[in-house]
């Protein structure tokens, strides 16, 4: 089985580092890719520009408040594109506003997680997310490239 590809979309390098660190400590191996804004995320997913060689991710972990192209727009772009719609998207954000949670699910988010404020919980959330989506969950076969 191929190593699962994860795409982290977050403008906070500290969060990307921390999430990558935690993922690196999981039993399961992952390839972690990261981009810092919404427009980059879309280019990555569509293999455009400098991302022609980029892998197709098995899971997108998406922050909501992003520069250039907002996380909500990225989410709705992904779910509106038949080539991308099947990729599970986990919203991973500090917002716990009801409006953000409902809007995300309306737009087709597969899961909404709040970034916890302390390390222990952060580790627990990221590890369970990876274990659930890339361990237990059965996902459609990755697009051949």
């Amino acid at each position: 089985m191929k190593t699962p590809e994860i795409l982290l979309v977050d403008d906070n390098p500290a969060d990307i580092d921390l999430t990558s660190e935690v993922l690196a400590q999981c039993k399961q191996r992952f390839h972690v890719n990261a981009v810092n804004d919404g427009a980059e995320a879309i280019s990555f997913l569509r293999h455009q520009g400098k991302y022609t060689e980029a892998p197709s991710p098995d899971l997108v972990v998406l922050d909501l408040n992003l520069p250039r192209r907002d996380g909500r727009q990225v989410l709705s772009d992904i779910k509106a594109d038949p080539a991308l719609a099947k990729i599970p998207v986990v919203i991973f954000t500090t917002s716990q506003a009801n409006s953000d949670i409902s809007r995300s699910y309306e737009l087709g988010a597969n899961c909404y997680l709040r970034k916890p404020g302390n390390l222990t919980e952060f580790v627990a959330v990221v590890q369970s997310m990876a274990q659930f989506w890339l361990g237990f969950a059965r996902l459609p076969q990755r697009e051949k490239r």
Binding site: A14, L18, A97, N98, L119, F122
Partner: protein, 399 residues
């Protein structure tokens, strides 16, 4: 309007504030609700005699009255209580509808005691009998003084409300926006502690520990501040709330503390009140939680009771704990105020301040009756008729 009754040409676009001239004469613009020319003259003469430079317009019907008060600004309305076409008291109603605060003084031939009292109740500033017109100037002065006081009071209240809103907004924004950078500090100092524990020297371990501890404590403070400011912002969902259910919910949340302390919590039969159920549950949870936390040498025994009064319910949460000194009973409701060190008792001193805010938003009061070593009884009231002071609940609240 009958031109004969305009006894003095009104000053064009005169503002309604009476100005005292050098001779001690006040300018006064009055609107008379009157149908007798002689009575108009009588009133004006009395006013001039009493030191007013008075000008007056006259209205005989409700329509005339309404259009005049819309067009001009008057210092005072002098209304005859009985006109053929309408009742002078209706002018009070018109002013209220138009949102105008102009004192109305009833000027009347013979006004029974009963009627007079009734008119004052309905909003007239005063009444003066036609055969005692010398009283009129003093009555006008007093009415205008009262109006000024009302205006000052209203302005002060509005300013207070605005500054309260600003403060709440500030607390909310500050605590909300502080969370994100704080999360970085907390998680990364924790990561440092985890990774480099024992790999640097002892001082480094200690310093990292201080940083982690400080960040976590600040996080808790910021979260507490946020919950505190949320009580005012989110408004309330008032509905018939069974306090028995509410207390059971609170007890469920306190289950671990109750088991650990061996507390016996005995709630009486409690009433159904108009309240925001989840906020009321928080009040009970904080009060019962405190009663458990500040226990004495024996296991905590906690009674929850309610007493019906004419306009409100008085709820009591009574414990046999350590009690509070008389000079501290006010202090404990202040946000972040703690009476003990963190080593003695945990917590940030937020619980009671939240209780106070919730109860006051419900139109009630909260206080404590206690003696050191003799236990404490926290009491709060909930009005029988709901008088909420919060807005609609917003579901989209950022939290």
């Amino acid at each position: 309007m009958d031109e004969r009754f305009i006894t003095t040409t009104p000053v064009i676009d005169e503002t309604a504030t009476a100005r005292r001239s050098e001779q001690g004469v006040s300018k006064l613009r009055a609107l008379l609700v009157e149908d007798e020319a002689a009575d108009v003259e009588l009133a004006l003469r009395a006013l001039r005699h009493g030191g007013f430079e008075a000008t007056a317009d006259v209205a005989q019907t409700a329509e005339e009255f309404t259009s005049l008060v819309r067009k001009n600004s008057y210092d005072v309305i002098l209304a005859d209580s009985k006109l053929p076409n309408w009742n002078g008291m209706e002018s009070v109603e018109v002013l209220r509808r138009e949102g105008l605060d102009i004192p109305v003084i009833l000027v009347s031939g013979a006004l029974g005691e009963q009627t007079a009292v009734e008119c004052i109740k309905q909003g007239a500033a005063d009444y003066v009998l036609k055969d005692q017109m010398t009283r009129l100037p003093e009555s006008v002065r007093r009415a205008m003084r009262e109006k000024r006081l009302r205006a000052d009071h209203k302005q002060a209240q509005e300013e207070l409300a605005r500054s309260n809103r600003d403060l709440e907004q500030f607390a909310y924004v500050a605590s909300h926006d502080l969370q994100e950078p704080l999360r970085m500090v907390a998680t990364y100092t924790q990561l440092l502690a985890e990774r480099y524990q024992g790999k640097l020297d002892d001082s480094a371990d200690k310093y990292i520990h201080y940083a982690v501890d400080g960040a976590l404590r600040m996080q808790k403070l910021v979260q507490d501040l946020l919950s505190f400011s949320r009580v005012g912002r989110q408004g309330m969902a008032l509905s018939s709330t069974d306090c028995n259910v509410v207390v059971q919910a609170a007890l469920q949340n306190l289950e671990a503390a109750i088991l650990e302390s061996g507390a016996a919590v005995k709630p009486d039969q409690l009433p159904v009140v108009m309240a925001d159920g989840s906020q009321l549950a928080q009040v009970f949870q904080n009060l019962i939680g405190n009663a458990i936390k500040f226990h004495g040498s024996g296991a905590p025994v906690i009674k929850v009771t309610a007493e019906a009064k004419a306009r409100e319910w008085i709820f009591s949460v009574e414990d046999n704990g350590i009690g509070i000194a008389a000079e501290q009973v006010e202090d404990i409701f202040v946000i972040f105020r703690r009476l003990h060190t963190r080593e003695e008792y945990s917590g940030n001193g937020i619980g009671l301040s939240i209780c106070k805010k919730i109860i006051e938003h419900h139109g009630g009061r909260i206080w404590v009756e206690s003696e050191p070593g003799q236990g404490s009884t926290f009491k709060f009231t909930i009005p029988v008729k709901a008088t909420p002071s919060g807005g609609e609940r917003q579901n989209d609240e950022n939290t």
